[in-house]
Symmetry: C5
Subunit: 250 residues, 5 copies
């Protein structure tokens, strides 16, 4: 646990009545896509970020504004934690502990979004969402929403620790797993996650109509950004390689 996340908030938000949605890329990038859609759809306010030297140093420019890669958003009763990069495996534990002990308090509930790799043989995958709950009350919410339970298997990364630790300390954690295509950003699968969140959280109303359209647009943007990033980075790397390979063994 050497490398910690540095949580920087522009305002102090009491969290005991807040639900936190955790949207990291995952399979098919479904976590990021769904979380970004919710933030846009509810016009949530950015209230903070997390920093770590283990995350790639970068700004994400959106409409000319440079933003950090791990951002925290908020509206009434809801907070969203988004990362544009996968959380390095060795930071999973620290990230989970940061969320579970957020500023010394505890969230009303935590909903972690994950992609579940669809069978590789299925060409057309019907998006489907499974749920796991850390506590009896979390599991009741899942059965109440008629979600299929993910009852045997492993869940790795931040979500895995959130679930197992949630079980130990009695924190309501729900992990939603949407089967997704691992080969490209799967916007339809992300849409299914958003639909499920809408059903689980009666206090928010997500306009589901333009969802698929929006999701497809987001998907396009992400692809384009990945291409641009790849270009910038590989050029820089090519240059850096030429410059630096000389001085490695001076």
């Amino acid at each position: 646990m050497d490398e910690k996340f540095n949580v920087m908030l522009s305002k102090n938000i009491p969290i005991s009545d807040q639900t936190l949605i955790v949207g990291f890329p995952g399979v098919g990038l479904v976590g990021s896509i769904a979380a970004n859609f919710i933030v846009d759809s509810l016009k949530m306010e950015m209230v903070g970020q997390m920093q770590s030297d283990k995350l790639p140093p970068a700004a994400v420019v959106q409409e000319g504004i440079p933003l950090p890669p791990v951002r925290i958003y908020r509206s009434d009763g809801l907070m969203v934690l988004i990362s544009d990069f996968a959380i390095p495996i060795q930071l999973s534990n620290t990230m989970a502990q940061t969320i579970l002990g957020w500023q010394g308090g505890r969230f009303k509930a935590i909903i972690a979004l994950e992609g579940l790799m669809a069978e590789p043989t299925q060409e057309q995958v019907e998006a489907k969402v499974y749920g796991v709950g850390s506590t009896d009350s979390a599991r009741k919410r899942l059965t109440g929403a008629k979600l299929e339970i993910f009852d045997h298997g492993w869940i790795t990364g931040v979500s895995g620790i959130l679930l197992s630790e949630g079980n130990r300390i009695g924190q309501d954690v729900i992990c939603l797993l949407a089967n997704a295509n691992a080969m490209y950003p799967d916007a339809r699968s992300a849409a299914k996650l958003v639909e499920t969140i809408d059903a689980l959280l009666p206090e928010i109303k997500l306009d589901l109509k333009p969802l698929i359209d929006e999701a497809e647009k987001i998907e396009g943007n992400i692809k384009e950004q990945m291409e641009k990033a790849k270009e910038i980075v590989s050029a820089r790397q090519g240059q850096a390689d030429k410059m630096t390979k000389s001085y490695m063994y001076g």
Copy 2:
């Protein structure tokens, strides 16, 4: 010894009259399979877990309940320590010292379960269990139970240190080595281990009749979990690779 195990117990259990069974995967996964069977068979209660940043961050979902990978169980006079993952080699020493100096006390006895690779030429291996003891009294128990002694060779990992340190400090440690098939979870070999433990511990009664059936079912479950895990992980990795290889040399 930088990376320590964090032992978390839900209740304080005096251990001077407890026997601890240590079941880590090992050859043929016999340690885990045998330990899981004993826990189920005796309906033991989960009383704690061990955490480490060097273990893969993951929850093991069993019947919809998310659990940590390294778990501690207990019933009258008996404790079982199970890990679903192999203990990383650099943590072997810390794990052994954690067990030998458990909360400042000492177990009545420690029984470590290991698989011993069967000769690769033998297609059908008759399961057979060998024993090593750290002390005269431990060795007497082995000969009293008419177990064949493993008298020359190396025992690596946590069991190796438990034995050698047990010898030095006078802690009764018994290591049971069942020859096993290294290619798949070897439930029959695990069953032989359970039978041996039943003979060594008169204070417990394990119903041996449904053992093979149960063992084979456990074997099936583990295989299935490994397949599922592989799918989830390789998908996630494929995605992560695509996302991350770009920002390594920004």
Copy 3:
């Protein structure tokens, strides 16, 4: 953030009315070339350097004078930070924080120079400069100078953190990105950066006439230095390999 930069200044310069230009190699080495030209053109005084064990240990000999690789120059109202080597990715954050919290003070403005990889299909790239600003006032300067805005995408490395942190703390940061050829030192692209800086900073007057000529000469020098460095280093490495590969596993 283990490895810090050691900032060594020969004189204490209050910076609240200083603009800092940051010129690191980047795509096409445009950052270094442009910064070196400005320093020569304005006959700026070298006032300090940065040291780090993560930077290659080396002296850059210029006209017989050995200099450190990361140098700080100054004239009225303007400071320039030059590195002849790419900043290692794991030092990006430390470098950005060093700049943003310079001796406890804050610059009037920071201008970071970057190359933006030109489309690989374009054989002849017309040099073009895009801008991103961290604050409203920074963005106003860009639009006032009729610069095209880089409105979506990722900016990695020191510049990325300068922008995103500048946004958070209200420090004016401008990143100028010139599309450049990644295969060789792109002096024409660097010249375009200098021209843009001249337009953005009315307080300085850069004689643009001999610019292209000068830039091409600088370009030639850099190529020559890279060749020489490569020779020295690969020879030394060949020798070192022969001497050292023997004692790795004594």
Copy 4:
């Protein structure tokens, strides 16, 4: 020097009148074989061990008794330090300093055993022993025993530091180098080392008659142990690979 050896002795032995023989594997394993023979032949008592997290965690089972890999033996006036594993290169310095500053005292003399690779072209190598001494008195003992002097070259690892440091601080250190076959445990070469030690230490009497027979038996045992270890380890590794490669990039 981060990783230290933990020296654990069951009894406090004043060492100013003790000669220490250091027998680590080395070329042809001659150091271990010779040291093991001396311990058996003189029926020396095991009085301690060294531990380090950098050594492989393992017990060496001998006649049913689990022992640590680095052991310390003693009889009147003589101590032997044996390691069954090569000392990792990064621990060489720590090991040498531990020996040279043993519990704050100093040995009467230290004799380090090494193998010297025989010319690869020589099929039949006649075992021959060379000596190096750290001090004038150590060199006198070598010439007194008519040993050929190793007068130019490098001696790496623990023995190298023992010699060079012994020279600096005036500690008598003798390094005996037997030319040996690097391809297998070279018992005959080890026997030549034992014969030389017998000549150098008039206070002990080693029965040289059964030496070759014994040495060959030891050689056989070591080979057998290596085979067994390889089997156990590769099986465990195969299993571990299957289990673990999945969770590396969760």
Copy 5:
């Protein structure tokens, strides 16, 4: 700067009137060869050594005497620092700082010896020496001795930092670069370095007549030592590989 050099001197030598010659291997090993020749020629006394865990643990045996790899010699007004191994790149800074702040004092002058790779196309290279000086007075000495100035390029490693830091703090540092053949120990090039030192230091008189003969003998010895070292090491490594590859994944 985690790993420091441990400077160990057998006597305290005030250095303000001492010139230090730094001879590390470098291209063609010219630094070591030249420094060794000067030490032998002036019959200088060994007065100390430097230790570091990052240097290979080894003794260099010369005429039967085991010596450390990094040695310090002295005669009236002159000190020589020799390393038989290349200084690891990550220790360059520490080494340079150790030299520049020697026991809290400062040398009258420092002369660092380097090889400069000859053009690979030149079969017969005429040995030629270039010079760089850190200060005006150092540069005057170079021009006074009619040495050609190395006026543009990079100098890496310890010499690079000595020059750049010497410039900053006003310490006279001269780096002499002899073009040398990188493929083998280049004794003629080393002889040219010695000749240049003889011209720069009127207070010493080096008998230049037997120089080439001596240099060729030294060259032969070094080659022989390298061969022997390679044999010992590769044998040890082969053995170590066989022994250790088994226990890496126990």
